[in-house]
């Protein structure tokens, strides 16, 4: 049987074979065919504002440098010296006239072109490499930087499709569209496959179980303050309580997927329940700034968009309303690393960003009440899936009732449908089946 047919057998309409999470050979193929082809989210333009600014990122397992070139464009270079292969820049960010390899001093300009080589006389003329490998495709959508390791493929707008609306929501909510990465980067790791995170973030059936303990303690916590009289703990208590919303709430939210495996869910919050929500003086101040920029009608439309988590397959998950973005870096079939970023709306009241930070701490933080239980469950999944006693993983919730919408999305029959997992595997199979 051809390898592609074997892959197709692993991904069926309502179930997948456990080996897609555990087999090192499949993982290697994913790095080549999924992470080596798809558009990957690398970061945001605000991380490299001026010529020479750069930050390190990863594309699958490839270390890359995202740079602001002299012509003002964003470029992406593989962070590996063309000489002996050392990583040219250490992890982090900075500003550089040239990138100089620590090993033998080979240097490259901001576009990656080789500039100077010590002991140049030892090389045959014309035999030196041109420079750092340039990642062939780079594109920016509303400030978010994407790149693809493949020189061919659909353009970014086609790839994103209707999921562009989530980035639009992210940016439109910021007065003047001004957003910047700020407030530190959480980095966490788990002993589990990279797909487990993406399969969790749109799963409305898990909070009542995985987050039972944080829901329970939040219900017993002191009541949050009235608008304008909040306590520091309010945002944590509100969000943890909201995870305990009744099943009917989770079922009623929207759940959409796209042919490229992206997915997004409607909001399960009533805005008045979150700090900086309706009726809050800080929120009013923010709303006025938004109105000043785009007018009453457009501001009203923007604030009525109700999107919660969005997945951009295969490496990103974000929340446009609380301005959190996570990038998953696969390390091995059973090891993943996640970097979590917060964004500041530059022209919004400072308090709005404090709420973003408080939200990040309670939900996405390495020591949070919420994330820690997710990580524990990912590791238990990986251990369970490593058992050969059973072969299949069931992803059939709502199967057969999915709705194809006119805009090309596929909607789950309810907010707790596993349609988003089926869509992710649909995209997975499409990437993996192309030789």
């Amino acid at each position: 049987m051809a390898a592609d047919e074997r892959l197709a057998m692993l991904v069926q309409a309502d179930r997948v074979h456990r080996s897609v999470y555990t087999d090192p050979a499949i993982f290697e193929l994913e790095m080549e065919r999924v992470f080596g082809r798809a558009w990957l989210v690398l970061g945001h333009e605000s991380q490299a504002k001026h010529p020479g600014d750069y930050f390190t990122a990863r594309m699958g397992r490839e270390p890359v440098l995202v740079t602001r070139k002299d012509d003002g464009e964003i470029g992406v270079l593989v962070n590996r010296c063309a000489h002996r292969g050392a990583m040219v820049c250490a992890e982090g960010r900075g500003n550089a006239e040239r990138f100089v390899c620590p090993y033998h001093g080979w240097s490259y300009d901001r576009g990656g072109a080789l500039q100077a080589v010590p002991f140049a006389g030892g090389y045959e003329k014309g035999k030196l490499p041109a420079g750092l490998k340039v990642v062939p495709r780079v594109s920016v959508y509303r400030g978010f930087v994407f790149a693809s390791l493949s020189s061919q493929g659909e353009d970014l707008e086609t790839f994103l499709g209707p999921a562009r609306a989530s980035f639009d929501d992210f940016v439109d909510r910021a007065p003047g569209g001004e957003l910047e990465v700020a407030g530190g980067v959480f980095k966490h790791a788990y002993d589990g496959n990279w797909k487990l995170m993406l399969e969790n973030h749109l799963d409305g059936a898990h909070p009542a179980w995985v987050h039972a303990s944080s829901v329970a303690v939040a219900r017993g916590a002191p009541e949050p303050g009235k608008p304008g009289e909040e306590h520091y703990y309010d945002i944590a208590v509100r969000q943890m309580r909201q995870n305990g919303a009744p099943d009917s709430v989770w079922d009623a939210i929207g759940m959409w997927t796209t042919p490229y495996g992206h997915g997004y869910m409607g909001d399960y919050h009533d805005d008045s329940r979150l700090v900086a929500g309706l009726g809050n003086p800080v929120f009013e101040q923010y709303r006025r700034r938004l109105v000043a920029g785009v007018g009453e009608k457009e501001a009203d439309r923007i604030l009525r968009v109700t999107l919660w988590n969005t997945i951009i397959y295969p490496n990103c998950s974000f929340m446009s309303q609380f301005r959190q973005l996570r990038i998953v870096h696969p390390v091995a079939a059973d090891r993943s690393v996640v970097h979590t970023y917060s964004f500041r709306m530059r022209d919004a009241p400072a308090r709005m960003f404090r709420d973003t930070v408080a939200f990040a701490n309670v939900v996405n933080g390495t020591g949070s009440w919420v994330l820690t239980d997710d990580l524990e469950v990912y590791e238990r999944l990986q251990r369970g899936l490593s058992s050969g006693a059973l072969d299949w993983v069931y992803v059939g919730r709502g199967h057969g009732r999915d709705v194809d919408e006119p805009d090309g999305t596929r909607r789950g029959s309810s907010g707790t449908s596993e349609v988003f997992i089926r869509a992710q595997f649909g995209a997975w199979l499409s990437y993996m089946s192309k030789p």
């Binding site: 700020a182 407030g183 530190g184 980067v185 959480f186 980095k187 966490h188 790791a189 788990y190 179980w209 995985v210 039972a212 303990s213 944080s214 329970a216 303690v217 939040a218 017993g220 916590a221 002191p222 306590h231 520091y232 703990y233 944590a236 208590v237 690393v337 917060s342 400072a350 960003f353 404090r354 930070v357 408080a358 990040a360 701490n361 933080g365 390495t366 020591g367 009440w369 994330l371 820690t372 239980d373 990580l375 524990e376 469950v377 238990r380």
Partner: protein
């Protein structure tokens, strides 16, 4: 103020954690206490930069309660720990508060995994009714900016 008394207090605090007396540990904190594990080295601000933990007294209480919840998946069964406190230095006394610097090595074992943490710790202690209480505790993990497993242990 007797440095030995301060040391004994820190050892007592560590012992409460290592013997899983979490509620008694919580009682060591003042009502207006803050418990802070910064994300960044030399972080000055807990409100506009994220923190691994930044709890007021209410949130710290929720943290202890969560650890006791039967479905606290990352916390049950409770980790076995050794909090090794060292290099205790009483550096400052002002307005009744004493600032104490120390180091912490924490060995955690839970669910087949052992982890080791190292940290610089600062306590601000206050006397209430003749006994020390913790008004502020800051724990700077040496790898706070590194790739960490989920943190479900109390420092």
């Amino acid at each position: 103020m007797n440095p030995t008394e301060v040391e004994q207090f820190l050892y007592h605090e560590a012992r409460l954690l290592d013997t899983q007396q979490l509620e008694a540990w919580l009682e060591l904190f003042t009502d207006d206490a803050t418990y802070w594990v910064p994300l960044e080295r030399n972080q000055q601000d807990p409100l506009e930069t994220s923190s691994i933990i930044h709890d007021d007294r209410t949130l710290l209480e929720l943290r202890v309660k969560q650890a006791r919840h039967p479905r606290a998946h990352a916390r049950q069964p409770l980790a076995r720990t050794v909090h090794q406190v060292g290099n205790v230095m009483v550096s400052e006394e002002k307005a009744g508060d004493i600032t104490v610097d120390s180091t912490l090595q924490l060995v955690e074992f839970r669910n087949e995994k052992q982890r080791l943490y190292g940290a610089l710790v600062q306590h601000r202690l206050r006397r209430e009714n003749g006994r020390f209480k913790i008004a502020h505790k800051r724990v700077d993990l040496v790898n706070s900016e590194g790739e960490l497993d989920g943190i479900a242990v109390l420092f």
